[in-house]
Amino acid sequence: MFRNQYDTDVTTWSPAGRLFQVEYAMEAVKQGSAAIGLRSKTHVVLGCVNKANSELSSHQKKIFEVDDHIGVAIAGLTADGRVLSRYMRNECINYSFTYESPLPVGRLVVQLADKAQVCTQRSWKRPYGVGLLVAGLDESGAHLYYNCPSGNYFEYQAFAIGSRSQAAKTYLERRFENFTDSSRDDLVKDAIMAIRETLQGETLKSSICTIAVVGAGEPFHVLDQGTVQQIIDTFETAAEQEDPATEPDAATGQEAAAEQGTAADHGGSTDEGAAPMDI
C-alpha cells in the first residue's frame, strides 16, 4: 500500500471507493503476533503467541475473559484490545443484571462492530487497530467470530489473525471439516498445532503460547502452562509420524471449502484493485 492524497482522514473516500485509514488499521492487525481460534459443536478454543518486546520484559496479555461464557483473543494494538475487552465485560455484566441470563455472543459482536463503525465515520476519531477473535457459547451453540477494525464481523469455524497467520490458516483449512465433531482435547491439540505453524521453526514451548477454552459446562478459562506443556510433549514425539496423515482431504473442493475461512486474506497487500472490505 502506498501513501496517497486520500489517506489523511478517515472521513475521506478515495476515488476507487476505499477508506484508506480503515485499511491501514487492518494492516495493524496483520502486524500483531498471531492469534487463532477454532470451534466444535460444544467447545471453542483460542490460542495466541506470546511475543515479548525483549528478553527482559514480560509478554502482553492477548486473551481476555469477558464472561463465563465468552472470551476474546486480540491481535494488533493491544491497548485498543484492552479497552474493547473492558467494554465487552461491561456489556455482559449489564445484560446479566437486567435479564438474569448470559449475553448471546451474536449480540455482543454486533455491538462491538457498531462501536468500531462509529470510529470509521467521525473525523475526530481513528479506527481501533485491533482484530478480535470472540469465542463464546450461548443457547444456539458454540460460536467463533472475527471483528475487524472496519466494523465488519464474520462467523468462522476456524480462523487465524496476525503475523504469519497464513501458515495457521492453511493448517486449519486442511482440517476444519473435522472440527465440528472433535472432542475438546483434540480441539486443543489442533489449536496448539496451528500455533506451531505460525512459529515457523521456533521450538514450541508452553511459555510461547497461551491457550484458552470455553465449552458446555466449562466456563471460559486460560489453560495453565503445565497442562499445555504436557499436551505439547504428547505430540512432539509423534510429530514425525503425524505428517503423512494430514493429506489434503479437501483437495478437490478447496475453493468451496475455504468459503468461511480465508477470503479476507489476500485482499490487502498484493491486490491494489480489490477493496478488502468487500467480503
Binding site: R86, I93, F97
Partner: protein, 166 residues
C-alpha cells in the same frame, strides 16, 4: 451476605454487589476479600442515603489471611466488624441470646477477648439452629425454613433446616 427487609431492595443490592465483584475479579485477577467487600457494601448503601435500600445486612466471609469475619450493617451503610450479629425480625430475640453465649463477661474483670467468637464449626452451626428454632417460637415472622451458609477454607456449602410453619 444475609439480608432482611424489603425483598426487591435486597435482590437489587445483591445483584449490584455481584456485578461489582465480577468487575473486581476481571481487574485484579482474584476474589474480593471480606473486608474489601464490607467497605464496598457500606459505600453502596450510603450512596442511597436519601432514598435507602430497605435492607438490613450481615456480611460474612474470609479475609486475605483466610480468617473468618462478620460485618453488621444498618440500612444506610454504617458498619462494624463483629464476632456475631443478627438483623431483621426476630433479632431482638436472637441478639440477647448470642450475647449470653458468645460475649465475654465484663471486660473489667477478665482480659477482654477479641472479636472472633471461639467456636468450632459444628458448635457454631448448632448454635445457629438453636437460635432460629427458639426465635420461631415467639416471633410470628420467623419460621418456615432456615438456610445456613458455611464458608471455610474448603469453600462454601449450604445446609437447610425446617422451622415451625405457623
Amino acid at each position: 451476605m444475609a439480608s432482611s427487609g424489603f425483598q426487591a431492595d435486597v435482590k437489587a443490592l445483591q445483584k449490584h454487589l455481584a456485578a461489582r465483584h465480577l468487575i473486581y475479579q476481571h481487574q485484579h485477577n482474584k476474589q474480593m476479600s471480606c473486608p474489601a467487600m464490607a467497605q464496598l457494601l457500606s459505600n453502596t448503601l450510603y450512596y442511597k442515603r436519601f432514598f435507602p435500600y430497605y435492607s438490613f445486612n450481615v456480611l460474612g466471609g474470609l479475609d486475605n489471611e483466610g480468617k473468618g469475619c462478620v460485618f453488621t450493617y444498618d440500612a444506610v451503610g454504617s458498619y462494624e466488624k463483629v464476632g456475631y450479629s443478627s438483623q431483621g425480625s426476630g433479632s431482638t430475640l436472637i441478639m440477647p441470646f448470642l450475647d449470653n453465649q458468645l460475649k465475654s463477661p465484663s471486660p473489667l474483670l477478665l482480659p477482654a477477648r477479641d472479636a472472633v467468637t471461639p467456636l468450632a464449626e459444628a458448635e457454631a452451626i448448632d448454635l445457629v439452629k438453636t437460635v432460629f428454632a427458639s426465635a420461631s417460637e415467639r416471633d410470628i415472622y420467623t419460621g418456615d425454613k432456615l438456610e445456613i451458609v458455611v464458608i471455610n477454607a474448603d469453600g462454601i456449602r449450604r445446609e437447610y433446616m425446617d422451622l415451625r410453619k405457623d
